[in-house]
């Protein structure tokens, strides 16, 4: 049933879909031709190019039906938890309780892209004083006002402290509009000082035990709120089972990333890999289905690697990408310019690391929260990026600035500096807005120049 890897547009996908159905492809309940989402307003889909595998189709359909899943969960009597500014901690707790469903309201930052600014979410944010000087995640405010993209959650949590000011300010604006928020504090991660017990966190960063203790106490407040919402206790065994399931997702993604970034031929395009990685932080509102979607994707990638097939020429420039893009089309553009994704750091590298299972559960989650690359020094984050560059053999780095994001002003320079000092690799800093159409010619030129630089360096 599986054809040779190809990138196809939406029209081609419709034909391919008919062929696959005729060949006996079965789909989950949310399946169907991708083009049907355009009727829902997802017009950016018309401009993207996709991997042609049934596994990729399932991934896309899973992503684009999240709202339906959330509404169905509510209809089934489940409670909804909006885990804001949370890259993989509160959802692990929430999904441990079978009558809770967690989602990521911040994910609304892709709505202006996917719906090509047709929803008016950014205009609503503007009207609330959250203008374009803020990160595109401000679209979330509009989504809360219109209630058209996700149902209002029964509980809203938000981490604050060592987080970006944009999101914190936007969440406060939301709070000021009457949405109660359970704020929990994540301190800036620092190294242990003399006399303090140092703990190595998952992923390799280090923090003093006192900070872990503090975060554990903060997460205990969140846990208590979840228990109250669920009307049941989240005991250690239940949480351990939830952690094991989250680790399964992380393990699948680790295998997927390893194969996708190191195979001689690129077995899965950057766009689908970006979507897959995002599943790690919130499970797209269905943790069990996430596991099935990733299992399918991994099987397809494994099959392609074994068969020696893939996308892009074998000499594609091996690029490491830092920060997620607001416009998904940037992922296509990289490949059009002769680049291939070989390593990523989309702000949540820690959510891809296994959660420790040999220590008490809440201690493990506290360690994970503190392992977030964004809560420490930009030099820490750069060190992790450098280690991953070596692991995946990248030849150049793209730091993709998020417009208006408070962390982007300085960290790109620091990351670039560390990469250059360590490996002497070329580094390109670009900015990717929600819709890149107006800047695409410039972006293309810059990406092509980077690819050319990589190839020149090979010949030297």
């Amino acid at each position: 049933m599986n054809a040779e890897p190809r990138k196809i547009n939406l029209e081609q996908w419709d034909r391919e879909y008919a062929r696959l159905r005729a060949a006996g492809m079965t789909e989950p309940v949310y399946g169907g031709p991708l083009s049907r989402h355009v009727a829902d307003g997802d017009t950016r889909l018309l401009k993207l190019r996709y991997d042609n595998s049934p596994a990729a189709l399932r991934l896309w359909n899973f992503l684009l039906t999240e709202e339906d899943r959330l509404r169905a969960a509510r209809d089934d009597g489940k409670k909804l938890v909006g885990a804001m500014k949370d890259l993989g901690t509160v959802p692990v707790m929430a999904y441990s309780l079978d009558n809770l469903v967690a989602f990521y309201p911040d994910g609304a930052w892709w709505i202006p892209c996917v719906m090509e600014l047709n929803t008016g979410l950014l205009q609503i944010a503007d009207s609330l004083g959250i203008d374009e000087s803020f990160c595109p995640v401000r679209a979330m405010l509009g989504a809360f006002i219109t209630e058209a993209h996700f149902p209002l959650p029964d509980l809203l949590t938000c981490s604050v402290g060592a987080t970006c000011d944009d999101f914190s300010a936007i969440a406060q604006r939301l709070n000021g509009l009457g949405h109660p928020i359970l704020w929990w504090e994540i301190p800036h991660r620092r190294p242990a000082e003399n006399g303090e017990q140092a703990v190595t966190l998952p992923g390799g960063f280090s923090a003093p035990q006192s900070q872990i203790d503090f975060v554990r106490s903060e997460l205990s407040r969140v846990k208590a709120a979840l228990e109250e919402l669920a009307s049941r206790s989240l005991d250690d065994d239940t949480l351990a089972a939830g952690i094991a399931k989250a680790n399964l997702v992380r393990e699948l993604l680790a295998q997927l990333r390893h194969l996708a970034f190191t195979a001689p031929l690129c077995p899965m395009p950057a766009l689908e890999m970006l979507i897959a990685e995002m599943l790690a932080i919130h499970f797209c509102s269905d943790q069990d289905e996430t596991i099935l979607v990733l299992t399918d994707l991994l099987a397809e990638v494994t099959r392609r690697v074994a068969a020696g097939t893939g996308h892009l020429p074998a000499d594609a420039a091996r690029i490491f990408w830092v920060n997620p893009v607001a416009d998904l089309q940037a992922m296509n553009l990289l490949e059009d310019c002769g680049g291939r994704m070989c390593g990523t750091e989309y702000l949540f590298a820690h959510a891809l690391d296994p959660i420790p299972t040999t220590i008490p559960t809440m201690e493990a989650l506290a360690q994970m929260a503190l392992a977030d690359p964004m809560v420490g020094s930009a030099f820490d984050r750069a060190a992790r990026i450098v280690a991953d560059i070596r692991r995946f053999g990248a030849e150049a780095v793209i730091v993709s600035r998020i417009p208006g994001a408070s962390h982007c002003a300085l960290e790109g320079e620091i990351i670039g500096q560390v990469v250059r000092e360590t490996y002497g690799l070329p580094v390109l800093e670009i900015e990717v807005p929600s819709i890149t159409d107006a800047t695409q010619a410039t972006l293309r030129t810059r990406l092509e120049a980077l690819v050319e630089t990589v190839k020149d360096r090979r010949e030297r």
Partner: protein, 299 residues
């Protein structure tokens, strides 16, 4: 041979000057000037001009140490530049954004103790409770003082916002020159950024606890939730009889920029929103015109 500096430079209101002084060092709250000759922080898009100016001014000071806080993400990240770009020992004080829990209050207290250890490493000495209490008593005058009502023809104005650099104090001159009177300086570098008066009984019982409590209760836009800022403003605006609000923030200061629309909805008074990139000299002409128009409307 010059004397080694005993000065500790900081700008954030959550750094207790008395704590530094009690360690035998000289606290200096640096209100920066925007400088073009960057030493550690370049002028880049997205970087708050205040954070940049502080980093560059602090780096240029002959200080024994620099204290930066996590009050905003920009300052937190500027710390990286200072720590790597200067020889001056630099300390990052974790100031919790949450404030309603005992854990957050305790964390702030523990951070002050950690700051104390840093000060000792710089040549300070760990103060006894009595020494600290004495220092706090000597510096009672640093606290926010009550405002006396003034009755004249000028229009009472509140200036609300984040910190102001030295040059941006011109805002006050322009308001007064246009027929206004600063009845309330609710900027971070003004009255709002000052701690409450110490409670003498608690000061005697446990001075460090009282110090932490007095500073931790400073209201700010960055606190979560920041409802205490609005409680404080409500009280102050009522007491001062303010008739208009001038709201100032620097470009790329998300915490304050986001509050402008909310303040307008909430305050029930005319609000003039002003932003500044902290560099542009032509700002003054634009500022003067806008402030005059605002004051004319209020007169």
């Amino acid at each position: 041979m010059t004397e080694p500096s005993r000065t500790i430079v900081y700008t954030c209101p959550y750094v207790p000057a008395e704590w530094i002084a009690a360690h035998g060092l000289q606290p200096r709250r640096l209100i920066p000037l925007p400088t073009d000759g960057a030493t550690v922080a370049p002028r880049v898009e997205g970087l708050c001009p205040y954070a940049r100016a502080f980093a560059n001014d602090a780096a240029a000071e002959n200080a024994a140490g620099i204290v930066v806080t996590t009050l905003c993400d920009q300052m937190r990240r500027v710390y990286d530049l200072l720590a790597r770009g200067t020889r001056t020992p630099t300390f990052l004080l974790n100031v919790p954004k949450t404030w309603q829990t005992v854990a957050a209050q305790r964390m702030y207290l523990e951070e002050l103790k950690r700051l104390g250890r840093f000060l000792v490493r710089l040549g300070g000495h760990a103060p006894s409770y009595n020494e600290l209490a004495e220092t706090m008593t000597q510096h009672v005058g640093w606290a926010a003082s009550a405002i006396s009502p003034v009755h004249d023809a000028s229009v009472p104005i509140a200036v609300v916002g984040g910190p102001l650099m030295q040059r941006d104090r011109i805002l006050f001159d322009l308001i007064e020159e246009s027929g206004g009177r600063i009845a309330l300086d609710a900027t971070e570098t003004g009255r709002r950024g000052q701690r409450r008066a110490f409670d003498r009984r608690r000061l005697t019982e446990n001075p460090l606890m009282e110090l932490a409590d007095a500073y931790f209760s400073i209201p700010d836009a960055s606190r979560r939730p920041n409802s205490e800022l609005y409680s404080w403003l409500k009280n102050e605006l009522t007491q001062t009889g303010v008739r208009g609000v001038v709201f100032h923030h620097y470009v790329w200061c998300d915490a304050w920029r986001a509050e402008l629309a909310r303040l307008k909805e909430w305050v029930g008074l005319p609000v003039l929103g002003l932003d500044s990139d902290g560099h542009d000299e032509t700002d003054v002409a634009r500022l003067r015109t806008r402030i005059r128009a605002f004051l004319e409307m209020l007169q």
